[in-house]
Amino acid sequence: MTPSARELAAARAHERGPLLEILHDVLDARGWISEQDVREVADVLNLSVAEVHGVVSFYSDLRRTPPPAHTVRVCRAEACQSVGAETLHREAVAALSGQEGVEVHEVFCFGNCALGPSVEVDGTLRGRMTIERLLAEAGGWTS
């Protein structure tokens, strides 16, 4: 049984500045943060809903919609661009982002800058990525 945001917040309420940690816990438990979660966390920490919303909306990792079945994150930072990341990103978006249950995101740096282009496929980082290898991995995704 997945713990509620209220329970997750209560578990850390005694820590120093726990809000971001709690939001990570909610994300780990459910994959996204709902408006109900925001209200519960705010209530436990005695913060305004606006304050918690402000934090949730600031950080790109804290998604406010249910996650898709598959996520592709393409690095678009300079080092990866020097080995063709812009083309790779464009092609990945063109090929995959229309597919049901697939999201393609841009990311600025995975710290794999000597072995780019870097792409994270469903949480697994891949270096020296090509569009052919990416599409091969994504081949089994079509519903």
């Binding site: 500045g17 600031f58 990792d61 930072a77 600025f108 710290g111 000597a114 780019g116």
Partner: protein
């Protein structure tokens, strides 16, 4: 008899198949696979090392499907194979470096605390534990160590400020480590945290003893999940062995917590990181007050980068003077240079300050990966200047690079071949700033978006046009915008974004004259 084979667990090595190689080797009878950190020779990953009588013999770029064939050819006996690089410790790419901070990197399992101690680990902490706090600070001042995150502020002076605030009656002090290594082309923090986490923890603990802090925080970006996991494991081990908690049984307590970021580049800026550590939006704080006086939860706080803390154990163990004897000018000690982008031999190179950018790119990096000529090098991350191929003879030290219009930053070097398009990269610098601006100050928040638009118009413009649409007028406008961002921004993001833009305009003006469809 079993043969011990090392396969790195570094995330860059894993990104090119190290886990699969480790599994394939583990399936071979008589093989014990151990997972070390990377040696820093990233272009050779996965680099498999086989223990032999001669030492650890390396095999570069091993792929999992090839493992049975390589074993049949004698890999486990250290045979001379096509992918063999000989005894790794004798490799000139490693022996030519001056590995001080990285002296233990890639040799052992990252959280093997006994291996760490056997290679001189904890000596710095033991010495710090018997010195007076002020003496510890003095040693760091003597070393000339400057903040490795990019700003280059003298570390010992920062620590002294915190110590004095504490002695002046502040009831609490904190140690905060910046592992929000968001600059493209940099990965030294990650490699160190994943490969030799105890060096970082030892450095932070020395800082805690020096300023009288009892709590430490490591702020790690969420893009580095392996670093988070390794550090948490290392902290638990260090507590168990009495290096954290009650430090060395001295009765002085220090505990470290890892906190994870959530995908915001700006949180690498120190005050924004403090906000984020406190659980808020990562918005930059105006300075003063400086974090050394009012940092985490208003208390005096030592905020340093991973590499700064990681330099400290050696400084305490070997003495500040020995560290200061390395380097050049006001840049003392060593720097961990990171070769990235379109480079043949990408990886981590630790050398004294003073090596030239050209030596790093050509001698260490071996030129471009594509084999085409180098056209530009960006040094110091996304806020660093683009230098053309004929400007690479600049020595790598804080002042010399600044004089050449560049920036050392965090020591990242991104190489581009002749496909480099300065206008596109200048536009990207503004786009990146717009995407990552925390929004607190107007020059950064608004200026970056106006910058993207202006560069777009500039690239399509004819030499002169009516109503401010001509090239000449747009260049004035862009320069004006850069000036406003440089002078008016609260932090380095808005303040330094003009650096890559202006350098692109200065060195590669022809790229802005092409009309891009």
């Amino acid at each position: 008899m079993t043969t011990t084979v090392w396969v790195p667990r570094d995330s860059s090595a894993r990104a090119v198949g190290a886990d699969e190689v480790a599994s394939a080797l583990a399936a071979v009878e008589g093989v014990t696979v151990r997972r070390n950190g990377t040696r820093g020779m990233l272009w050779r990953e996965p680099l498999v090392e086989v223990e032999t009588d001669r030492g650890r013999v390396g095999y570069a770029g091993v792929e999992a499907p090839a493992v049975p064939e390589l074993v049949a050819q004698g890999l486990l006996e250290g045979a001379d194979l096509a992918c063999g690089i000989g005894v790794v410790d004798d490799d000139p790419w490693l022996t030519g470096q001056e590995r001080v901070t990285c002296s233990r990197l890639g040799l052992a399992e990252p959280t093997d605390i006994e291996a760490y101690a056997a290679r001189g680990g904890w000596e710095g902490l033991r010495r710090a534990a018997v010195l007076e706090p002020a003496q510890v600070v003095e040693e760091v001042i003597t070393s000339g160590l400057r903040g490795r995150g990019g700003a280059g502020f003298p570390t010992g002076i920062k620590w002294r400020t915190v110590l004095e605030a504490r002695q002046g009656g502040a009831p609490q002090a904190f140690v905060a480590c910046n592992l929000d290594e968001g600059d493209s082309g940099t990965f030294a923090d990650r490699i160190l945290a994943e490969g030799d986490p105890f060096t970082l923890l030892e450095g932070m603990t020395v800082a805690a003893l020096a300023v009288g802090a009892t709590e430490g925080y490591i702020y790690c970006r969420s893009e580095y999940p392996d670093a988070v996991a390794t550090l948490r494991e290392a902290i638990a081990v260090a507590q168990e062995f009495g290096y954290l908690g009650d430090v060395l049984g001295t009765g002085r307590h220090f505990d470290v917590v890892v906190r994870e970021g959530a995908g915001a580049y700006i949180c690498g800026e120190e005050t924004s990181m403090l906000e984020s550590l406190e659980g808020r939006r990562g918005e930059v704080r105006a300075k003063p007050p400086i974090p050394a006086l009012s940092g985490l939860w208003g208390a005096p706080t030592v905020v340093n980068n991973v590499l700064t803390f990681a330099a400290v154990p050696m400084i305490l163990a070997g003495g500040g003077q020995a560290y200061a004897d390395l380097g050049t000018g006001r840049s003392r000690g060593t720097q961990l240079f990171q070769l990235a982008g379109n480079v043949a031999r990408g990886g981590l190179v630790e050398l004294s300050f003073g090596v030239t950018l050209r030596q790093l790119v050509e001698d260490w990096g071996g030129g471009t990966l594509s084999g085409r000529p180098v056209r530009a090098v960006q040094c110091g991350g996304p806020l660093g200047a683009y230098l053309p191929a004929d400007r690479l003879d600049v020595p790598m030290d804080y002042e010399a690079l600044a004089e050449a219009g560049g920036m050392l930053g965090h020591g990242g070097i991104v190489v581009f071949d002749e496909s480099f398009d300065a206008a596109r990269m200048a536009r990207f610098a503004m786009e990146f700033c717009a995407a990552e601006s925390c929004g607190k100050c107007t020059p950064c928040r608004v200026g970056s978006t106006r910058g993207v638009e202006t560069i777009d118009r500039l690239c399509g413009a004819s030499a002169d046009g009516p109503d401010g649409t001509g090239r000449t007028q747009l260049l004035v406008l862009l320069e004006d915008l850069c000036e406003t961002m440089t002078k008016g921004s609260l932090c380095a993001l808005g303040g330094l974004t003009p650096l890559p833009v202006r350098s692109a305009l200065e060195h590669f003006p022809e790229d802005f004259e092409r009309s891009r469809s």
